[in-house]
């Protein structure tokens, strides 16, 4: 009987073995290596030199670019993610009807989120918003006048946020699946009670979707923090104008692979990890105030 149990455990480990090896080699050991490096000065070619907390001190007291990068990233994340989610929810509700051609609209709406990560789309965006690009041409025809997207730091950041909102499609799909799972009987009962559309939205739709909103908010926030390709391509790797699009990952990349300051970049990575963990914990903790979990008896 004991050999049977042993065999059972070994079989389990045979199946998940690749994961454990990969986890140790590509994640666990690198994480600790990165923690060690963050206390050193390391340029990849000479041996790491111990610095204690100097990298961390420098980051917050003597590196204005770091503070700028943190500020820009916060604006990007906390400006972009809520807008994108709100928009995704709005469009999902629009599409949650039996109207004709819904499938076609749905396809068009989530196509951008499929191609959005590519270099081609970032190149496209960069040129759309160029001084003589299509956006400015259209703005001029409308009589609003062009915006110098590549001269104003804040305008450049908004250009990135627009790109992120344009890719609302995948969240929309998740919301759409959630909306379909809300029992029609709830709305019917509310209709009998004379609840209006606003009431139904806040009392039924939002609470019923809240677990999905939480899940989306967490995953999108983490994803937004790691945004690299659009900032890298649109600013041609510099994060300009005036560091207006110097997103955290881009600045980290520059420190590590342009200036070969591996120690400093590792310290940046650890602060990022802490920030992301902190925000995720906050979101999870906030759940008890606004997320409504339905008890599905016995399931």
């Amino acid at each position: 009987m004991r050999t049977n149990a042993l065999k059972r455990h070994l079989t389990g480990y045979a199946f998940i073995g690749p994961f454990i090896i990969g986890f140790l080699v590509f994640t666990a050991i690198p994480i600790f290596a990165s923690l060690y490096l963050s206390f050193t000065n390391y340029d990849l070619f000479t041996t790491p030199r111990w610095l204690g907390l100097d990298n961390y001190k420098k980051m917050f007291t003597a590196d204005p670019k770091y503070t700028q990068s943190l500020k820009v990233t916060m604006l990007y994340v906390f400006g972009g993610v809520p807008l994108r989610l709100a928009f995704a929810l709005f469009v999902a509700m629009l599409l949650n009807t039996a109207a004709k051609a819904i499938g076609l609209y749905r396809t068009i709406y989530y196509l951008p989120s499929i191609i959005g990560g590519s270099v081609a789309v970032s190149i496209m965006w960069r040129n759309l918003f160029g001084d003589e690009g299509a956006i400015n041409s259209i703005l001029e025809i409308l009589g609003i006048g062009g915006v110098r997207w590549f001269a104003e730091p804040l305008a450049a950041l908004w250009m990135l946020i627009f790109l992120s909102i344009w890719q609302f499609g995948s969240s929309m799909l998740i919301f759409l699946a959630g909306l379909k799972n809300i029992p029609a009987s709830l709305y019917e009962a509310a209709g009998v009670d004379g609840a209006n559309a606003v009431h139904r939205f806040f009392k039924i739709t939002l609470p019923m979707l809240s677990p999905i909103i939480l899940f989306n908010a967490i995953m999108q926030t983490i994803g937004a923090f790691m945004t690299f390709v659009p900032a890298y391509i649109i600013s041609k790797g510099e994060g300009g104008p005036m560091d207006g699009t110097l997103l955290y990952s881009l600045y980290l990349f520059r420190r590590a692979f342009v200036y070969f300051e591996m120690g400093y970049a590792s310290a940046m990575a650890w602060i990022m990890l802490l920030i992301v963990a902190f925000i995720s914990v906050l979101l999870f903790a906030s759940a008890k105030y606004w997320v409504h979990y339905e008890s599905k008896g016995g399931n």
Binding site: H9, G12, S118, V119, E132, A134, S170, L173
Partner: protein, 279 residues
């Protein structure tokens, strides 16, 4: 009342159609611009119709750079995509079966690790991984990009676990009674049943690897190794008035396989996004 009945659907369709146009316009603009003579792209930026229509951008763009045509970059990308996807899908299925169907010591712990991995910002492991691959002398090869896929991809593992859970447990029991071992159970019974989930994983793996830029930027620094993403980045770095058109044309070419897969396998994509939040 009758008026309301006709106005409302009209208004509704007006809103969704305008939104569709906004969504699709940037892509149309890119594609149409690629057929305009390079020096007129920004003079006629507000127009979607090229006049005259020209093919020259595609001819120039296809010539590539450093003596490598764009065909070489497409081939390089495809090699990475195929090797990575095979490894990612197969290893993820194996691992998913272990988590979904087997009972063993420490399973909860490893499952928790896997879920945490889905949320880990990869910047934290980027630098040590680079150092490790440099020490292994794997720089300027596709190994740093391909090999990690053979150890399971958390999103895919999660997706396949969800799918396996929908298969009745009685299948396993019947097979076990017939004297079928766990490996045969996996290969003969579970694997064929989870092909829809494998297809979804394969599609997303294709997208991620095809669109990946960071990997090639870090690890592929010879023009003969460049992927499509990397080649587009180089086009951008050498941006001049004369090659805008070529850059647009090759950008459009790089989107073609992505769009083809999108329209061919939409069902799996919708499924993947809705069940696991894949993107």
């Amino acid at each position: 009342m009758a008026l309301k009945k006709t106005v409302k659907p009209l208004l509704y369709h007006a809103v969704v159609i305008v939104l569709s146009i906004i969504m699709i316009y940037p892509v149309l603009w890119l594609v149409m611009s690629s057929f305009k003579p390079s020096n007129t792209i920004f003079i006629t930026a507000e127009s979607l119709i090229p006049s005259p229509w020209v093919w020259e951008n595609y001819v120039i763009g296809w010539q590539g750079m450093g003596g490598n045509t764009f065909g070489v970059f497409i081939k390089n990308s495809l090699v990475i995509v195929v090797l990575s996807t095979l490894g990612a899908v197969f290893s993820s299925a194996l691992i998913a079966f272990g988590f979904a169907r087997l009972q063993f010591f420490g399973k909860t712990f490893w499952f928790a690790m896997m879920m945490m991995l889905m949320m880990l910002p990869h910047d934290v492991v980027l630098i040590p991984q680079y150092i490790m691959f440099a020490k292994l002398e794997w720089l300027n090869s596709i190994k740093p990009i391909v090999v990690p896929n053979y150890f399971g991809v958390p999103f895919f593992i999660f997706l396949i676990i969800q799918f396996i859970r929908t298969i009745p447990q009685e299948m396993d029991e019947a097979a076990t009674i017939d004297g079928c071992g766990k490996f045969r159970l996996f290969f003969r019974i579970i694997l064929p049943l989870v092909t829809p989930a494998l297809a979804t994983a394969a599609i997303f793996s294709f997208y991620w690897r095809w669109e990946d830029l960071l990997g090639p930027v870090l690890y592929l620094n010879k023009p003969s190794l460049y992927t499509v993403s990397m080649a587009l980045k180089m086009f951008l770095d050498n941006e001049t008035v004369s090659n805008w058109g070529a850059m647009f044309a090759m950008s459009a070419v790089s989107l073609l396989p992505v769009l083809a897969v999108f329209f061919a396998f939409q069902k799996y994509i919708v499924e993947g996004i809705s069940t696991s939040g894949l993107k």
